[in-house]
Assembly symmetry: C2
Homo-oligomer: 143 residues x 2
């Protein structure tokens, strides 16, 4: 029931990215340093975010990444789904089996559905922009 490090690192990384990409693209190296995440591992994570159309890249020297759309249009759900696959707690493979209905009279699936919906609801309603604002405040307070 734990999120993988891809999800944890990825969310931290993209908040960092959003926070530091005013004009220039942000390099993996710089995120890696600030967030203390392996460069090589970050590559993979950001690669997924790119494939999902959440960030865009600029190749070559002084290249890097920036958000593909406004932070107000990127939900935490968008980010986590692309890094973790679907975020359902139970896939209910049992539901698809003939056994399920006839033998164990699956009432548990209602539980899984509720949990799944609850999670989606939560993460779909938190936007990257909110996290960036909070991050900015923390940065401001620090000085």
């Amino acid at each position: 029931m734990k999120l993988s490090s891809k999800g944890r690192y990825g969310l931290r990384a993209i908040v960092d990215l959003a926070l530091h990409s005013q004009n220039e693209p942000v390099s993996i190296k710089s995120i890696s340093k600030r967030q203390d995440i392996s460069e090589r591992y970050l590559e993979q994570i950001i690669g997924k975010l790119k494939k999902a159309g959440i960030v865009e890249s600029i190749r070559g020297a002084s290249g890097g990444y920036h958000l593909a759309r406004p932070a107000t249009d990127i939900s935490v759900g968008d980010i986590l789904r692309c890094l973790e696959g679907d975020l359902s707690v139970v896939n209910c493979p049992e539901v698809n089996e003939t056994k399920c209905e006839s033998s164990h009279l699956c009432v548990t699936k209602y539980v899984w559905q509720k949990v799944n919906i609850g999670i989606q609801d939560t993460i779909n309603h938190i936007y990257l922009s909110e996290l960036v604002e909070q991050g900015q405040q923390l940065l401001d307070n620090q000085q």
Copy 2:
């Protein structure tokens, strides 16, 4: 982000148990047959439920298990926590590290907190009794 089979099987098993323990205790063998779960594996699962004080056992021939308290007093949260350990999606080990506050200015923890609370909220407010009722209805309709 998936629940383990212990959680999935365990919830099915205890619903089955509650549904079939009118007077006599319910044996692992019978649950195993009805639910198509390995006897040996079920032993371990029910063992945990026992250790957590959710079910009680009667040893020896014609022994088995029954609920330790009314199904109205057992939440899905009680069951899943004992089978899965804590159900938080992220433990926030980062929060405890010095690094967290100074370097990545952890705003992500607010996300994890919301998700964790949402999950707890959901599973703490579904009671075994509700599932048993639903299961009973399914059984009734079947005949």
